[in-house]
């Protein structure tokens, strides 16, 4: 990126140029105004002086000549020059070395000489009775000096602003370029395949850092989603390969089996494998649907107490028939903003696990409590737990406790539980041994249900 193509450089340079041009315009206006004012002032002075001479010499040209001589002798007004000429053009009085114009009135630029030097004066010629003419002139040196001063000042300012503007544009452009380059480099590194790269922050907390932070957060989120997707694809590849191979083997067996009874058994086994596979697919799709958060569109206020006790009562006979005990401690009238069916499926998965993976005599407890804005739900048993693996990792797809590998299931139950909890913005935790328990804390959903 060259500097000239930098938007920031062009913008700041344009602003700089704008300021410089504005200064120039102000300068021209100020110059004109000052110039005019000074000329008017000079005209005014000449007019007053002329009137004064006429007043003093009211008795005729001789009087005026005397007045001129008095002034020149006193040299009170060094900047003013006088000349009185007679009807024939002869000088009567006054030392001003300039030709007296024949027509009365103001002459702005009257050349004259003083001390052997050609100069310019502003003058007023007045016609007197008897063909006399009186010339009063003031040197324009002051105006010229002022003009030059102003001109220099404004041109200087214009130049300085122009340089300053370009310098500022260059500096801002360079800084922006440098900071953006970091983001650019990160993006390019990621395009190049290094997804671990993040935008380097300056630590100043400025707007660039904020954008960088947001981009980093976005990258983290995308990273998680990608990791998730990668995990799922590899899980699917791995965990479906085994049952598909089994299915193929059983069909192969059936094909080569001559005994009709055994052939039928093999086909039934193959059909069972196929059904299992479909179940895994269906579970994966459901998890993906819930994780996609589309379920939230259908969320509404539900009576959680009712939903939880429905599931508990549905399981009670099965749990008791297996020689286990179920204790449901459910606070009534707990409302939640959510999806009843999903929450019931979540509890079902947990109770399924309790029924499948605990020995006789196990006590299963379901507890629902609301304290303020927090709703706590827990499904806990005092069974053998998941051993060393007992931790949040059990919420991942296809993760199964080694002990339970032999029992039916696909390791998707807790992944679904985790996805449903996440869709409800609930914090889900697996409690440490002894026993096995999953604890949920719903926060936002309770508030929304209260509205």
């Amino acid at each position: 990126m060259t500097l000239a193509r930098s938007a920031t450089f062009r913008l700041v340079a344009l602003v700089g140029l704008g300021f410089a041009l504005a200064t120039l315009a102000i300068g021209i206006i100020a110059f004109e105004a000052t110039h005019e004012a000074l000329e008017l002032q000079l005209d005014h002075r000449i007019a007053i002086e002329t009137q004064a001479l006429l007043d003093e010499g009211s008795d005729g040209p001789e009087g005026i000549a005397a007045a001129i001589r008095r002034r020149e002798a006193a040299s009170t007004s060094a900047s003013l020059g006088y000349r009185l000429v007679g009807p024939t053009g002869q000088t009567v009085a006054g030392a001003l070395d300039a030709a007296v114009p024949h027509t009365p009135g103001y002459v702005e630029l009257l050349p004259y000489s003083a001390h052997g030097e050609q100069r310019i004066a502003q003058s007023l010629t007045t016609a007197l009775p008897g063909g006399y003419r009186l010339l009063v002139a003031a040197d324009r040196g002051a105006i010229d000096a002022m003009d030059q001063g102003l001109l220099g000042l404004f041109l200087g300012a214009f130049g300085a602003l122009l340089i300053l503007g370009i310098a500022a544009a260059w500096a801002v452009g360079a800084v922006t370029h440098r900071r953006l380059a970091r983001i650019d480099q990160t993006a390019r590194a990621i395009i190049g395949g290094d997804f671990s790269r993040r935008v380097v922050l300056s630590g100043k907390g400025d707007e660039f850092d904020r954008v960088g932070e947001t981009i980093n957060l976005m990258l983290d989120r995308i990273g998680k989603l990608m990791e998730n997707l990668r995990q799922v694809s590899s899980d699917v590849a791995h965990d479906l390969r085994t049952p598909l191979t089994r299915l193929l083997n059983r069909l192969d067996d059936a094909m080569h089996e001559r005994c009709a009874t055994r052939q039928h058994t093999a086909i039934a086994a193959a059909a069972h494998e196929a059904a299992e596979l479909l179940e895994v697919f269906s579970a994966l799709l459901r998890i993906a649907e819930v994780e996609g958060l589309a379920a939230q569109a259908r969320f509404q206020r539900i009576d959680l107490s009712h939903a939880v006790s429905d599931v508990a009562e549905a399981f009670r006979p099965a749990i008791e028939a297996g020689g286990r005990q179920l204790f449901a401690d459910i606070e009534p009238d707990v409302a939640l903003h959510g999806d009843r069916r999903l929450l019931q499926q979540m509890l079902t998965n947990l109770l399924d696990n309790a029924v499948q993976h605990t020995p006789k005599g196990t006590v299963v407890r379901i507890r629902l409590r609301q304290s303020g804005d927090v709703i706590r739900l827990a499904v806990v048993d005092d069974g053998p737990g998941a051993g060393e693996n007992q931790g949040q990792g059990l919420f991942d797809r296809f993760v199964r406790v080694d002990r339970s590998r032999s029992s039916p299931g696909h390791g998707l139950g807790l992944a679904m539980v985790s996805a449903i909890a996440a869709a409800h913005a609930a914090d889900a935790r697996i409690s440490p041994p002894p026993g096995f328990g999953v604890h949920f804390a719903f926060t936002g959903s309770a508030e929304r249900a209260a509205l």
Binding site: A275, L278, E279, A314, F315, R341, T348
Partner: protein
Amino acid sequence: MRILIVEDDADTSRYIARSLMELGHQVASSSDGRDALFQATEGTFDAMVIDRMLPGLDGLALVKALRAADNTTPVLMLTALDGIADRVEGLDSGADDYLVKPFAFSELAARVHALGRRPATTSEQAHLCVGDIVLDPYRRAVTRGGHKVALQPREFAVLAELMRHAGRIVTRTMLLERVWDFHFDPRTNIVETHVSRLRSKLNAGFDRDPIETVRGAGYLMRDAP
């Protein structure tokens, strides 16, 4: 029963038609939504099995069109879409029941039968009688041979569902959906354990078990022993 099958996959359509005919039904089939709309309007059917994804006019639109034309023939919708939203949409369109592919034929047959004889207007107040069992939905009371049988609410609901479909198979998933409103399949046999409790309460002091277990299909209550 006269049944119209609307399914664009020829294999599936043939399989369903053949199996239903084996059960003694008359079957007509269509593979296109518009054609199905025409057939359904022209002919009289006792039930329709409609696939959700169809060429021409999809299943949802077809059912909506039928209902808009005051056609009240019961509809069982078939679909490969297993999402929760899909199910809601399917039932909202006016379908009476919803079955996700793949399905066991016994499940389809049970559901078609349940549709076919569904009375036009279900009077909830009417007593249900099967053999010596009388169920009063209004008072939530059950008697067998004149003796009162005390049941838990879900046991009562299971019995009511079985009696309402007396003579026909009610599958495990139908009970899960209608009694518990569970649209997923728990691995725990909650239906079996409820039926078992219901049986022990219902059969106390009687020899005959009115609830027949049909292996691999569901449960059945017969009108006459």
